[in-house]
């Protein structure tokens, strides 16, 4: 993990050759979202696993914070950023195919991606679908509890509809646990360390840029 913590190669010229990968706003968004997801998972699943505490208020308030974060992200990505960085196109499908060919031995070198590789885009797509499902169903479930902001109205929807909403919320929540575990694996194993550093400190080195990315597909 040294490469995350240290500035060993920090000569002035090398510092100047750093490539900005994640701006401070995006890093803050990522880590706030991580905290919200961890709190939501803990307040959802610890009581189910037998750890009893007053989880409901923490859960719905954190859910509202996550909703606000996601809305901010959507607005920022669509208006102020280039959303095409995350769009899955033909080049990404070809890249996925070549990555699989490399993994299975029929291709010597893995392909070089743009700012995000095809598997990261696919991961983002899955996360987007699952998070929107859990947030959408969670917002509806707020109708079933009294809060300082509104009174409960569980009769707005039929019992069958509530059942479906609870199934969506539960399934999506369990999918988030699986997604979170896979995310930890890619982040905490050595090939992902430089990306973890980029998510903490913002930059990758010019050497890492040349080594891991196709300059024709990502010009920082």
């Amino acid at each position: 993990m040294d490469e995350i913590a240290s500035d060993n190669w920090q000569t002035a010229s090398e510092r100047a050759q750093r490539v900005m990968r994640h701006k401070p706003f995006d890093r803050l968004y990522h880590w706030f979202m991580a905290v919200c997801v961890i709190v939501l998972m803990a307040t959802a699943f610890l009581p189910i696993l037998g750890v009893k505490f007053e989880w409901l208020d923490i859960h719905w308030i954190t859910g509202l914070v996550l909703t606000a974060l996601i809305l901010t992200h959507i607005v920022r990505a669509l208006i102020f950023q280039d959303w095409r960085h995350m769009w899955i196109g033909f080049a990404d499908l070809r890249e996925l195919w070549r990555t699989a060919a490399n993994l299975f031995g029929s291709r010597k070198e893995p392909p070089l991606p743009g700012k995000y590789d095809a598997s990261q885009k696919l991961y983002h797509f899955v996360v987007a679908v699952v998070i929107l499902a859990v947030v959408g169903s969670g917002l509806l479930m707020l109708l079933k509890i009294d809060t300082p902001l509104w009174n409960r109205n569980p009769y707005l929807l039929s019992a069958d509809t509530w059942g479906v909403i609870y199934v969506i919320h539960g399934m999506a929540a369990m999918a988030i646990v699986a997604i979170f575990i896979v995310h930890l694996y890619f982040t905490l194993t050595p090939p992902g360390w430089y990306m973890l550093r980029a998510m903490i400190r913002g930059w990758i080195s010019s050497k890492e840029y040349a080594q891991h990315y196709d300059a024709a597909r990502w010009k920082p």
Binding site: L103, E109, G163, Y166, G170, V177, A178, I181, V182, P191
Partner: protein
């Protein structure tokens, strides 16, 4: 082998009005299945990556 499913997918409760069971959510028995799927994915990816690295070392 008494014909019961290995894993329940949904939770039901008996409706207070009688009649059929009421769907109330996903079954929490599925949580270990999701965790297991994530671990299986990680093991498969780690094995394939290790194989790819070994092949890359062998080929000059």
């Amino acid at each position: 082998m008494n014909g019961e499913p290995l894993v329940e997918f949904f939770r039901y409760s008996r409706s207070i009005y009688g009649g059929s069971d009421q769907l109330i959510g996903a079954a929490w028995d599925l949580l270990p299945v999701f965790v297991g799927a994530a671990i299986a994915f990680i093991l498969l990816h780690a094995a394939l990556s290790a194989l790819a690295k070994r092949r890359a070392r062998r080929v000059p």
